[in-house]
Symmetry: D2
Subunit: 301 residues, 4 copies
């Protein structure tokens, strides 16, 4: 299997097709292309064990938005991207109107390409305390709580442990987990958002596996919102050498002494800020369907 080191189902499918050739059908997987607000949307459904084994991904639905216009600063790209994300997210969430939600930002805020989760959590409209304390004004809102969960090295706790503790206390109907992903493709870097109703399963990204955050471990549905922000440099090199006819190369044997090298855009700080805002605003529009972007802006300022 070549599906190591990609967190994107759409990419795992491409890799499968490259390795399997054109003749074999990928059974147990369904894919559909569409557009939303002018952006390409690919929905990959892993239907059963066959599909799961082939792609190395749990059974479930994976929606990929290509937000390439965002980077080119096209007019109205931000509101279109936030609305597209909200629409796709709503379709996955299938939540009653006022069912409480917990938004979790995963990743290390001190490491720029890993900070998209904490940054997006910071753009989330937090309403749980308002609904409880001022129901006369906020009674019609969905109760939303949020936390940047830190990482094992800074908390001593697995994200899974921490989120599980919160779920027991807050009792949300659903957890939304925002995280940085690893891609194999430079084309998708900082331009793509993947929504998955499977939660987050450790070990599929660049190092730093975390305990799973999914319905099995948390007892409630977990929607993962992920954005590829790095390509592992060793994986990229191995892919290139394979492409150059050198056959399979074990990425771990390349630049042995220098782990942790990544390929990333030079202006990663600005791109993280942009992506995190799109994700946060998209989540807000999905969780509070009556609000406009201007309402969200006013609430958060």
């Amino acid at each position: 299997m070549l599906n190591r080191r990609t967190d994107l189902a759409v990419e795992a499918r491409e890799l499968w097709e490259q390795s399997a050739g054109q003749t074999t059908a990928l059974e147990g997987v369904e894919a559909r292309d569409g557009t939303r607000e002018g952006f390409s949307v690919t929905t990959v459904r892993v239907l059963d064990e066959r599909g799961s084994r082939a792609l190395g991904k749990p059974v479930g639905t994976y929606v990929t938005l290509e937000l390439s216009g965002l980077l080119r600063r096209e007019e109205e790209a931000f509101p279109r991207a936030a609305r597209a994300l909200a629409a796709e997210l709503s379709a996955l969430l299938k939540l009653p109107d006022r069912a409480p939600v917990l938004v979790v930002g995963l990743g290390n805020r001190a490491i720029t390409p890993d900070a998209v989760g904490p940054l997006a959590a910071g753009h989330t409209m937090v309403t749980r305390h308002l609904v409880e304390r001022a129901p006369e004004h906020f009674g019609s809102f969905r109760p939303v709580s949020a936390l940047a969960a830190g990482v094992l090295g800074t908390t001593g706790m697995e994200s899974g442990e921490l989120v599980s503790a919160l779920v027991e206390k807050v009792e949300p109907a659903c957890v939304l987990a925002v995280d940085a992903l690893a891609s194999r493709s430079l084309d998708r870097l900082c331009r793509t958002v993947q929504l998955a109703d499977t939660g987050i399963v450790p070990g599929s990204g660049v190092g730093n596996s975390r305990a799973a955050l999914n319905r099995e471990t948390l007892g409630v549905p977990v929607i993962a919102v992920g954005a590829p922000t790095v390509v592992d440099a060793a994986t990229l090199a191995a892919d290139m050498l394979a492409g150059a006819g050198r056959g399979e190369v074990d990425p771990d044997t390349l630049w042995g002494g220098r782990e942790g090298l990544i390929v990333t855009p030079k202006d990663i700080d600005a791109q993280m800020a942009d992506l995190a805002k799109v994700i946060g605003y998209g989540i807000n529009l999905a969780l509070h369907p009556g609000l406009s972007l201007a309402d969200v802006e006013m609430f958060l300022s």
Copy 2:
């Protein structure tokens, strides 16, 4: 009672003495002055209900370190301050060697004078995962976990709720809660650290009361580590007018429209960074008594 709007027991005692005059004895309260590493240390013990009512503070021990040398950048001020804090903290903690501890940074990291808790949590040596996963190297360490708990407005959860959820999961023998305090005295601003074995009881600081973090609510001892970083501007004004012979003035009637004004040093950003580092390193030395400051520096870098 004049003890509103000070979080410092030492200050509550001064205010009581000012209002009561020299003739009355303050019963149920014991105070002792000393020095540690060249810094003044005042220990106020609230012994019983009489003392508690007089000072408006729960029964317990309150230790105040005056770190004035720190600001004057005296030679070796930082290591002396960290060791003094560690020594006083150890005396309050009375913990078995490897009993696990949870360090919680309270306050809003986006508001500079409120960020001392999150910043100090960031200087904490987190070891819980290492003790569990690499006992051959870290088996002799105390398991420490840490979290910046955010604030109600950014999480939708009371700090008390959040910490209570973590305590159930992590099962520490003790919680250390670091927080910014309000002082009435400009002299103590950013120069003082108060340790208290009473935990944190809401409503004694500048606004923003939080649900209590103490043995009653969490089931384990809570040591509060607090640093006065602001003086409420309205309280200061009321104190000054009272001092000028205008009698008691209700602070809330001053500048009615402008809540949230504080008195603070102009270089608050730098002073918060310094204080948070002293607190974090003092906590590390207290929790890992075999380590030197150089060891801590190496671990954290």
Copy 3:
């Protein structure tokens, strides 16, 4: 004279009136109130030496915008504020269409209440290099350059020296200098912008006097854009004690040992960010009159 320790002409005038009583006329000073985009605008003209002596301000025009709506997050407050500032600034600038301008952000970016200048410089549309290198696309733009000038303690150079060096090289038709000001009034804190065609004359603010930036020292007109972000705590206290009937008190005798204490909003970080953006966008609209706010947003993103 009581006009020490205010940088605002409108405040100097109020102080004069308080001290002089209602019977005397303030000669050599003209004042006019108006509104712009719903905000109050006060224009104080210091006409001659008599006015200059009375207010302690150089002869010239001082325009004060009260942006109180901004803080209350009224709808459309940001675009209205940016347009109001642009309109008043244009009236002072009186510049030919493509005359080059140098925008200078004064103050220390590491000290939050002093950072409004560097932050505003960061929101400035810089076009000088584009006009020179790609005249086919940018030939119709005004050439604008910008610099955060740092402070004496971090550069070893007076802002005046540094800006003078740049003026000789860049040869702008006008310098716009953005700076944090000191106010005496808590009401105006972070809610007011003063535009002055007199440049910046040292010694009128909270400490840290800087060499003058004006037509005399730089050889070109200097428009000062200032925002009061702090009230000096000692001045405030002296004012309060005077108000309480204690007569004139020398602020420098209050809390002698603790210089550098200021009164400021608790959320100063967020308020600085908001103010700096209004100022930067207002400058952009004034310097590039053909552009809309959306154009500016697109250019800067």
Copy 4:
């Protein structure tokens, strides 16, 4: 010539040797290896036009320190690195004791791998104003001024223009210019500092050429202090493909649509902070030879 896209003389020499084979001598270039404080030091001297053409570097001396121990957090690595850098820098500087120096931090502080210059400027002991204003205390110090010069896109001015303006005003005996470099080798990333007495000549790094900063343009000697913080991803890929036997590949044809991709360590934020501190402290020790690291620490805090 293969020397495009490396800023390091030591690397240009390696590339020349690879392309020329072992049989040819590299004339006009002298190289010498040594150690300083336990770190490897390579000194490459480009002696004449032949050497300059072969390496694509101006005639002059290039000193490369390999600070690999720094990253492995060896004991005392920081003070050893700062002293090693100071010793090599002093040897290049050859300045009279109190000759004034201007330190310039080049690069964009908003782009992490480009921020090493501005960050190092922030660690520089600035003394010019103290020597002028308090000669009784600081008369024995060398007058040092410093500036983070920004980049063309944020100032509208070439770094060369800006520094030239300052040199005319401040009249330093020497300019020290700190900048991020591009390397071709992943091994050297964030582990190497190059000192060069040739100044900075545009066009030898990753894109973003700047006007030259050297004796010709500024009229005083310019010592460049550079640290490789990125490897251009396209160059790396072309090198790998060439290594894999695909022959010469034009990097610009790889991933045409995605310029600005770099290879960098995942924790680039922390590594930039460490490197900038070593560089700043090394500069301080070189410019103020009587001071210890503890003195520098005290001065800057």
